[in-house]
């Protein structure tokens, strides 16, 4: 009797697991983004100044938002027909696979592991991991100058934090918070010595605190930001690649960067080559 009960329990767990995994697989045929959609749902970040930020009045601002709008325009969708949806880092692959968003422009680095699940178009931007410090700090000049007992802050679970530990200094103490804003707060109050992540994200925060914070400007890794979309949608990928190439070519790429992250003193980097 007992055995039967536990067998039933086990069976229901297995069934549940299968239903869950089935969730991820449905809707795999879907329509291509290249087939003139009427409206689009686009995943962006809501909390990154300069890239993807939801303003208090409900509008969206940032470089990622401008790229998303440009692509939509090229796909034949009017700006009013775009719905922006928050796509947090951990949810991005799932949102694409389930078809809850059509594509994602959210500081989404192209990696091989992610390519197992989604396709990338682009890259539309190449960022470099960097350090954000107080303007008065002269000790930290780059990742090599991080020594023992210095305190570094990043977002929990993020790749930049892991990289510093692995590549540069094991002695550096790492503070992890849920958001970059908490890190910036800790930096301003002197509880940590530096904040690390991609330079373009840091530039957004430096711009919010002009005079108090500076980005070191010695990037030490390449993060290729791509536009994530469904793995099966090859035509859509080609269409988005064409849109990105056009955006870089006609000057709107540079204008969008200048508008969104230029004020922080961030040097507009060289134009990326679309290689995906």
């Amino acid at each position: 009797m007992k055995l039967r009960k536990s067998a039933i329990a086990l069976l229901s767990v297995v069934l549940l697991a299968q239903t869950l995994s089935a969730c991820g697989k449905k809707d795999s045929k879907g329509n291509s983004l290249a087939d003139k959609p009427n409206k689009l749902t686009v995943g962006i970040k809501f909390d990154q100044p300069g890239l993807g930020l939801k303003a208090p009045d409900g509008t969206f601002k940032g470089f990622d938002v401008d790229v998303a709008k440009y692509i939509a325009k090229e796909l034949g969708v009017k700006e009013g027909d775009i719905t922006f949806k928050e796509s947090k880092s951990a949810e991005r692959e799932n949102l694409i696979e389930k078809g809850e968003v059509d594509y994602i422009v959210a500081t989404y680095s192209i990696t091989d592991v992610r390519k197992e699940k989604v396709a990338f178009a682009g890259p539309y931007f190449v960022a470099h991991q960097d350090l954000l410090v107080k303007s008065s700090n002269t000790k930290i000049t780059g990742p090599e100058s991080l020594t023992g007992n210095m305190k570094l802050c990043s977002v929990k679970g993020s790749t930049p934090a892991q990289k510093i530990k692995d590549k540069y200094s094991k002695a550096v103490q790492l503070q992890e918070y849920g958001t970059y804003s908490d890190c910036v707060d800790a930096l301003l109050s002197g509880a940590v010595d530096a904040v690390t992540t991609d330079d373009v994200i840091l530039a957004g925060y430096a711009a919010q605190h002009p005079g108090d914070l500076k980005v070191i400007g010695k990037g030490f890794s390449d993060e290729h930001y791509g536009v994530g979309l469904k793995k099966t949608d090859t035509k859509g990928k080609t269409a988005i690649n064409a849109a990105i190439t056009k955006m870089i070519g006609d000057g709107s790429w540079e204008a969008a960067l200048q508008k969104n992250v230029g004020p922080s003193g961030y040097k507009i980097p060289a134009k990326p080559a679309v290689t995906e």
């Binding site: 951990a90 692959e93 992610r114 007992n149 993020s158 509880a191």
Partner: protein, 229 residues
């Protein structure tokens, strides 16, 4: 499902759950002590203590735990300079965060312990306290010798629920960077995006392994300990 990540030496899953267990046990001990004191305050004859107990419970029980823990780190430690570890220690951040998290969890969980114990006190017949006072015991003696021993025996089951909730609440400590199970989970979610479901299942299983025996054991204890009336 893909479980390749289990053999990756970068992920110390057992170590992370061990931190979860430590957080739970230390916070449980602290909450038990502080929660009992709070309950004593709430039933004491001194209006000031009653007022403090009521205010404390209502403020902290109704504040989100995430807010309390982030305030521990951002406000109490970073802004007001309260540090719970030696600043020159090479593991300062780790130790300080861990202790702040325990403190935050105690502040929050003790309100639930207090209310459970107070409900236990209400199960003790008024005659018990009256008889104790009649033989000349002071309030503290009535409470510690007569009321609380009976009250605690009747609230083992609700306290077990509080303990299970606490075990799961420790995941919030990842918001201030305590290296417990859910922080490792965020790292793995970031790196193993092709095996998300596997990662989630492993951590869900880990928590069930921690909480299920707690519930069963304390359920049995509750049956044994209860005062039959």
């Amino acid at each position: 499902m893909n479980f390749d990540f289990l053999s990756n030496p970068d992920y110390d899953i057992l170590g992370a759950f061990w931190v979860t267990v430590q957080l739970t046990l230390l916070a449980a001990a602290g909450s038990m002590i502080w929660g009992t004191i709070l309950a004593a305050m709430r039933v004491s004859p001194v209006p000031l203590m009653r007022g403090f107990g009521t205010a404390y419970v209502n403020i902290f029980r109704n504040t989100p735990l995430t807010l309390i823990l982030i305030a521990m780190s951002v406000v109490l430690s970073n802004k007001l300079g309260l540090v719970l570890a030696s600043k020159s220690s090479p593991t300062f951040i780790k130790d300080n965060n861990f202790r702040l998290a325990v403190l935050g969890l105690v502040i929050y969980t003790s309100t639930f312990v207090c209310e459970s114990i107070r409900s236990g006190i209400n199960t003790v017949p008024a005659g018990q306290a009256e008889a104790a006072r009649a033989i000349g015991l002071r309030f503290s003696q009535v409470l510690w010798i007569v009321i609380l021993p009976q009250a605690l025996r009747s609230v083992v089951a609700p306290l077990a629920s509080v303990l299970i909730a606490l075990t799961k609440n420790t995941t919030v400590a990842s918001a201030i960077g305590v290296a417990e199970a859910s922080l490792l989970m965020s790292t793995m979610v970031e790196n193993e995006s092709d095996a998300l479901l596997g990662v989630f299942s492993i951590f869900a299983l880990g928590f069930v392994v921690l909480t299920l025996p707690t519930g069963l054991l304390l359920g049995w204890v509750a049956n044994k300990a209860t005062v039959k009336r």
